[in-house]
Symmetry: C2
Subunit: 312 residues, 2 copies
Amino acid sequence: MAATIRDVARASGVHVSTVSRSFSAPHLVNDTTRSRVMAAADALGYRPNRAARALTTGRTLNLGLVVADIANPFFPPLIKAAQAHARSGDYHVFVADADEDPRAEEELIRTLTKQVDGVVLCSPRLSNEVIVRLAADVPFVVVNREVDGLPSVLMDVARGARLAVAHLRALGHTRLAYLGGPSGSWTSRQARAAAGIPVIGPNQPTAQGGADAAEAVVAAGVTGVLAYNDLVALGLVEGLAALGVRVPEDVSVVGVDDILPGRLNRPKLTTVAMPTEAAGRTAVDLLLGAADGPVTLPTAFIVRESTGEAPR
Amino acid sequence: MAATIRDVARASGVHVSTVSRSFSAPHLVNDTTRSRVMAAADALGYRPNRAARALTTGRTLNLGLVVADIANPFFPPLIKAAQAHARSGDYHVFVADADEDPRAEEELIRTLTKQVDGVVLCSPRLSNEVIVRLAADVPFVVVNREVDGLPSVLMDVARGARLAVAHLRALGHTRLAYLGGPSGSWTSRQARAAAGIPVIGPNQPTAQGGADAAEAVVAAGVTGVLAYNDLVALGLVEGLAALGVRVPEDVSVVGVDDILPGRLNRPKLTTVAMPTEAAGRTAVDLLLGAADGPVTLPTAFIVRESTGEAPR
DNA sequence: CTGAAAGCGCTAACAT
DNA sequence: ATGTTAGCGCTTTCAG
């Protein structure tokens, strides 16, 4: 059995409360006493039991991070940054994958609630009402969604979308389309509104979704497309290739996210880069009270190889 | 404040122990009593506090999952599968990113120990000795590494490597090389030994690592290469392109892992597919005692577009 | 089948 | 500066 605070107390000849204080309020205990305590703790390999501590303090030092789909390359950098940042504040993070299912998402949050000091909800599939209701039980920070009264971390897709459309227009494209994402998606709504171009979709937010849309794109006679995200864009490129349509010679494609596969792809994807790492860190800051209110993070427009002059 | 077991007891007119039993040992309590308790619990929105429960039972119903780098596309499918499987047993999972740093890895494990019933160590960068020492405090399952006395989940890279080499030979390639990974990597050692071809490396297990190796590959006059993983392979393809060398016309490249970027890439990567989802599930099973001993999972060799006939 | 009581590991008043 | 005590929310003997 692992050493408890009592073992340390016995070994160092002080009361348990002194040991407790040595760890959680060092300044309240005599230097020499404390060093004796610490020595004993070290020798025994003692580490405070965080769960037990949480029971009295009410703070678990745990955070929940609920994402729509871990396997979506958009999330890992966010998770990684959030986790690293949380660690620096001595927090652990539960990562929960909702598998794009609102019901799973809700259940996950419910069971996590008691065990964390707050949860970061990334690209939730849940309705705002449900989110607000759940927020009564535990502090929330929502990423990629505006929910009344809750702190959120947003990314400025609107600006990215405008830049993308301007870029395509500058290349001579006149027939443009937005390949929309899932109907509930905040990001999709933002981008669509900002782009102000005809919409094809909704589509599955996956490569398959993009591939499936290839025919519709060709049928519409479109030469420049802004896709819901990089995955869709990548799928579209693939689908177009299968139809004998080349990117960027025949059709220019812009993605959103700047995920790794887009950078490795050939042609390398032109994209609206989302600040995922910053979002992860910011969300944690909001949760821990180190920052305030809704934050909108800037996006960047990155021109690579999937866009080119309009065919004539 | 959230409802506690005491609130439920009061509301349903029974003792707390009866409420407790209603949840954790339903068969020990009268049907009608229990339904009364459950109704009250429901009305109050009561959920047992898992941390408090853990204090008495010693079981946290939490698992730790330590990975070398969440942002490496190899891990997310494994994490996702492990997490989903854990959930089905009512377990939550802490995901910890060691950021390829052995010291961070150790610290992460240490702080997690008390809070979990077991930890899955994926592709650890830690030495076997340290792992064994840490294993004294908490059940371990190690993925992609053999550690004496610890249950592990292995993937049969050796067979995959042999298949890859045979495939390249059958295409007429005679000058082959293995682009090795980090020196501490179990997978790298396995593949190298099984491939039985000259080694170039070690290399960083990233796309950059692969790109950096392009010159050496060309200098060696190699026409068929098996890379440490898909990321390295993808980077190599990129690096070769920059040197004017085409894949697969001039050089054939085989990766390992079967990550998403390889499937989306053009040319699509020929690869040794690793059973990541199965590994995630199996690791959890081993941890929860639902399965035994070291398990070696089969790999699959998938021919796609990055390999072709040797140039003549 | 249910109640009473002790205790898990720790912290937080309150004393001293 | 340190010891005493109570108690966080829950489970688990032990009685009844």
